[in-house]
């Protein structure tokens, strides 16, 4: 997934207009988030190559998951349940927003299930393309 994300950044760095929700600020590649004041999608190293950060990797992973899902089933609405540790909540939510806002083709939802393997306690938070997708103004 890291390689897939790095390939995405390589393409984006060549054509930044291809995704206007991202911007380069110094050496940081920032995602314009509604949920967080700052989301770092990646960084540019001294050689000029893009190094993906966790939110972008989560977003690419969701992108792949939804692609697989749509290939396997012809359904108009798709849901991915994603199980994660609570300690990863911010990177996972940032990545979920990055996917739903930038890539989703609509009618998609991600239910983030934060799970405690010891106590079996969990909290689930639903995110949908309807809520987070960017609508043309």
């Amino acid at each position: 997934m890291r390689n897939r994300s790095a390939r995405f950044l390589k393409r984006w760095l060549k054509d930044m207009d291809s995704d206007e929700s991202l911007r380069l600020e110094g050496t940081e590649i920032l995602f314009d988030s509604d949920l967080y004041p700052k989301v770092i999608a990646g960084a540019v190293n001294e050689a000029g190559a893009g190094i993906p950060r966790c939110p972008l990797i989560v977003s690419e992973y969701l992108d792949l998951s939804f692609k697989r899902l749509s290939a396997s089933r012809q359904r108009s609405s798709r849901v991915v349940f994603d199980f994660n540790r609570v300690a990863d909540k911010d990177k996972v939510i940032k990545g979920t927003e990055m996917y739903l806002a930038r890539k989703s083709q609509g009618q998609e939802a991600v239910v983030q299930v934060f799970f405690d393997a010891k106590t079996h306690d969990f909290v689930s938070i639903p995110y949908s393309s309807e809520d987070l997708g960017r609508r043309a103004a």
């Binding site: 988030s33 509604d34 967080y36 911010d90 909290v123 809520d131 103004a137």
Partner: protein, 378 residues
């Protein structure tokens, strides 16, 4: 006590109060904390936001929780940098939280126009059009007035502002419970409202900022600075119990919207008819049409409203807005519709609401009538 002051605030609904209480006990962890208890709090807030946006027809990214409508109004005004090149238009009958924020903008060097209203409290869209300049950055016109109930011609005003490309803000604090259902159909780019006018808890409100405004404005400047709450746009640990209660209060108000609208309107007519049958010289400051269904402002010639209120201590009504009955000035709204200071002082606001019964309405009207007769005789 017969409570007839629903424009000042509404009593907390029992179901909402239970929910606020249990949310405060269950979800006390900080919603930003990266542990299970914090996640539960975060989900409680996001669940409340989802509920509200479904009811209002907007999107989560368009709804920001604030400490009330006062903050929401101040926030909207703060988005325009105070300078002579930046112009704001507002009206003479806005709530103090809007007018004072606008005055502060003006003191800071901003260019401000305060539009007059007619004798029933209506803003003329043609005057809005005339006031717009190339430098106009915001027009703010309230949806419905909190003292006399006049409901502004927002659609016509919005077509004027839309044509000029000036964003429109509207303080819908009094209107949200009766007049506005789908907020995206309401033609303002920014809308302030508050929970405590909807039988919800105090100290919580919201600013709706349309996607369109956010996109054309390239984001949302924040009023406060601090943590990352509300996407960093309104930092500060969220008032979770109040947010949960706010969502429930909105849900309950939607369930009974149409019935409640006509019920309170009937109570209002019944009250006025009774009063007029005893004292035909009583005048109404509120407009007959295009008025909040539950708001009535009347004038009893020659009487002092304060004295009358003291004569009927078991009826909770208001002389002008509760917000400015402290400052001993005649109401700026009543002055703006052309009343003299003496006329403003003889004016009363009566507000009807969910718990008002026809019996209470009759008893209050009779008590006020009797007090007026006594005062006139003495």
């Amino acid at each position: 006590m017969i409570y007839l002051d629903y424009q000042a605030t509404t009593p907390l609904d029992d179901e909402v109060a239970d929910l606020v209480d249990s949310a405060g006990r269950r979800f006390w962890a900080n919603p930003s904390s990266p542990h299970m208890a914090g996640m539960r709090s975060q989900e409680a807030i996001e669940g409340a936001r989802r509920k509200m946006v479904r009811l209002l027809g907007c999107r989560p990214r368009e709804l920001f929780f604030t400490s009330g409508a006062t903050e929401a109004n101040n926030w909207a005004i703060s988005m325009v940098k105070a300078s002579q090149e930046h112009h704001i238009i507002t009206t003479a009958i806005e709530h103090k939280s809007m007018l004072d924020a606008c005055r502060a903008f003006q003191r800071g060097g901003g260019d401000l126009t305060v539009l007059p209203v007619d004798n029933k409290g209506f803003v003329n869209p043609t005057e809005v059009k005339r006031a717009i300049k190339p430098t106009t950055r915001l027009v703010s016109v309230m949806a419905a007035n909190n003292e006399i109930g006049s409901v502004q011609p927002i659609t016509d005003i919005a077509s004027v502002t839309g044509e000029a490309g000036a964003p429109l803000h509207s303080d819908a604090t009094q209107a949200i419970g009766y007049l506005i259902e789908d907020i995206t159909q309401y033609p303002a780019d920014l809308v302030s409202f508050s929970s405590h006018k909807l039988y919800g808890p105090k100290g919580i409100g919201a600013l709706y900022i349309s996607d369109k405004f956010q996109t054309s404005n390239k984001g949302v400047p924040s009023l406060l600075h601090g943590g990352g709450q509300e996407g960093g746009k309104r930092p500060g640990t969220q008032n979770l119990p109040a947010i949960v209660g706010f969502a429930k209060a909105l849900e309950l108000s939607r369930a009974a919207l149409t019935d409640e609208r006509s019920r309170v309107k009937q109570l209002k007519s019944m009250f006025l008819d009774l009063l007029l049958s005893h004292h035909p010289d009583i005048m109404t400051n509120s407009p007959q049409e295009l008025c909040l269904p539950n708001c009535l402002n009347i004038r009893i010639p020659g009487l002092d409203a304060g004295e009358l209120m003291s004569a009927v201590p078991h009826v909770a009504i208001s002389a002008g807005s509760a917000c400015n009955s402290n400052d001993q000035q005649p109401s700026h709204v009543l002055m703006a519709i052309g009343l003299s200071a003496a006329e403003a002082r003889s004016s009363l606001r009566i507000g009807f609401g969910r718990t008002t019964t026809p019996e209470e309405t009759r008893d209050a009207a009779l008590a006020i009538s009797a007090a007026v007769s006594l005062m006139k005789a003495s």
